[in-house]
């Protein structure tokens, strides 16, 4: 059950989007977010949808996986929609009951917000589906490298990120195992009052922390045994190198940005 968390889960298939330079993908997704949030007309959303569909076609990621990434945020989505629906007082009143009223403006805004969030989630999960976490941190390190000039520890940050990412599945597996072991001793994890539930977490959390610290120590020793001394003079197995498809992708994204600017000007 714990394995169902898709956050940052790489989906290994062959596609153009998978092969693209992760640095470009990160910049492009940022442009996409700017496009989504800089405009407030439905035309922008249409443009965003085209962008997402295009990316999905190039990514070879099945629709099922896309749906899986949206599913966890459905409650948040519903809540945002509800709040917008109830509290935006704009335009014709369509329905009124005591102090609650639903207006034309409320409906439009909540619809707009919902679509915007869904597009945002699909866009960013396409990035994580098509880029392995290691590549992603490599790209972040490379994009942030100018910050080294002001003594910002870019390499150390990236190393910490990749170690954290590397251990997520390990710790999840470990949690599963500890939960099973405590269940075998009669621990109840999923019923009772809130206070009981919190107490029931102790037999899980303590062994988990202990093993996390143990692993951290072992890893540190192992790294020292192999003479790890930070990023200085370190070469890479995978060098990031931009290719024709990356530049084409970038140009396409710039076209989208131009289109969104045009739309924003025209709508005003």
């Amino acid at each position: 059950m714990l394995k169902d968390i898709t956050l940052g889960q790489y989906f290994p298939v062959e596609s153009v989007l998978h092969r693209m330079d992760p640095r470009f993908k990160i910049i492009e997704i940022m442009l996409f977010i700017v496009i989504l949030f800089a405009g407030d007309s439905f035309w922008i959303l249409a443009l965003g949808t085209v962008f997402v569909l295009l990316a999905q076609c190039l990514s070879n990621i099945p629709m099922k996986m896309i749906w899986k990434s949206i599913k966890p945020i459905l409650p948040i989505l519903a809540l945002t929609a509800l709040l917008n629906l109830l509290f935006i007082d704009d335009g014709d009143v369509l329905f009124q009951w005591k102090i609650l009223k639903i207006t034309q403006g409320g409906i439009t805004t909540s619809l707009f917000m919902m679509i915007r969030i869904v597009l945002l989630i699909i866009g960013s999960s396409l990035l994580t589906y098509t880029t392995s976490p290691i590549l992603l941190t490599d790209a972040i390190e490379s994009l942030m490298s100018p910050l080294k000039k002001i003594k910002f520890p870019v390499h150390e940050m990236a190393m910490m990120m990749s170690i954290a990412l590397r251990f997520i599945p390990t710790l999840l597996e470990e949690t599963d195992k500890i939960m099973s072991a405590q269940k075998a001793r009669g621990a109840t994890l999923d019923n009772g009052k809130l206070i009981d539930r919190v107490k029931a977490l102790i037999p899980i959390m303590i062994p988990l922390f202990v093993s996390a610290f143990r692993r951290a120590e072992e890893l540190a020793t192992a790294m020292e045994c192999r003479c790890y001394r930070g990023g200085e003079g370190r070469t890479r197995l995978r060098r990031l190198k931009a290719q024709a498809r990356d530049y084409i992708g970038f140009v396409v994204c710039m076209l989208f940005l131009a289109a969104s600017v045009t739309i924003n000007i025209l709508v005003k």
């Binding site: 072991a181 405590q182 102790i202």
Partner: protein
């Protein structure tokens, strides 16, 4: 014989990640009947489905199809009773010391009995009795489990399950990572526990020597299927089949086999060093000078 069995499985099948490309059947139509008061070894190649099968016995995993019957009753018939099943079928995972969490060893061992709803007096009795059986001094009970040595931690964790006095105790490789002396001691203690409580103990192990010495029956898993469930001696007679699945007979049984092939009149079914020693000595005495 049927009346003596306590745990049965009917066409037990379990498939991991059903309906995805990672689908894998880990337990395939297993039919078993495990009797009361027995010491049973569970052997099989890595990935043969031993651990998955064991997790069905106490209801941690739900069969994809088929049934697990405890005293003739389907353990999944009533989900509320599942917790009782876990008290009756105790499962000790591999490297159980990683599940210790309490402030003192005493408290950790009493976690299971406490969950059973026993009174403080009963809990105390059980903890002390179990600690004695597994070889933890009263002095150690007061210490933090994290301050113990590796072997002591292992024993404390096993005691935590034993203290529930399950009718069936399953140990998944209890000796992994222990030194030879620690292994022997631990296994002997588990054996004593079994005799004292008259319960059924299932011992998952990769060491043929261990199962040969301590168990009466063997459950052999091969490629998700039950290969056989039979007396230890009968299983070790199937030398060729065992080695075909990547298992082997105990080394001493191999030596005896070779000696027999060379024409020495040694009896069959010898698979521990002690038996072998006695058999060879008898043969030498009988043959006298001629044999030497």
């Amino acid at each position: 014989m049927k009346s003596l069995s306590i745990l049965e499985t009917e066409d037990l099948t379990y498939t991991y990640s059903a309906g995805t490309p990672f689908e894998k059947t880990a337990v395939d139509h297993v039919n078993l009947s495990i009797e009361k008061n027995a010491m049973i070894g569970v052997i099989g190649h890595t990935g043969s489905g031993k651990s998955t099968l064991m997790q069905h016995f106490n209801g941690l995993l739900r069969p994809t199809s088929g049934k697990v019957l405890l005293d003739g009753q389907d353990i999944w018939a009533d989900k509320k009773r599942l917790r009782d099943v876990r008290f009756r079928v105790g499962l000790v995972f591999q490297y159980p010391e990683y599940q210790l969490f309490e402030e003192t060893v005493y408290k950790d061992i009493s976690f299971g009995p406490k969950n059973m709803g026993l009174s403080d007096a009963q809990i105390k009795e059980r903890v002390l009795e179990t600690a004695e059986m597994i070889g933890l001094s009263e002095e150690l009970l007061k210490r933090s489990p994290f301050a113990l040595s590796g072997g002591q931690k292992r024993r404390a964790a096993i005691a935590g399950v034993m203290a529930m006095r399950p009718e069936i105790l399953i140990l998944d490789e209890p000796c992994a990572g222990l030194d030879p002396k620690g292994r022997d001691k631990l296994l002997r203690r588990i054996c004593e526990y079994q005799k004292k409580t008259q319960s059924t103990v299932l011992l998952v192990s990769h060491s043929m020597e261990d199962v040969a010495e301590y168990t009466q029956k063997l459950l052999v898993m091969n490629k998700s299927k039950l290969f056989c469930y039979d007396d230890t001696a009968a299983v070790f007679r199937r030398t060729e089949e065992l080695s075909a699945m990547g298992l082997r007979i105990p080394q001493i049984a191999g030596v005896m086999h070779t000696l027999r092939q060379k024409g020495y009149a040694l009896p069959e079914d010898i698979y521990t060093v002690e038996q072998a020693r006695d058999a060879i000595l008898t043969l030498l005495r009988k043959g006298g000078a001629a044999a030497c």
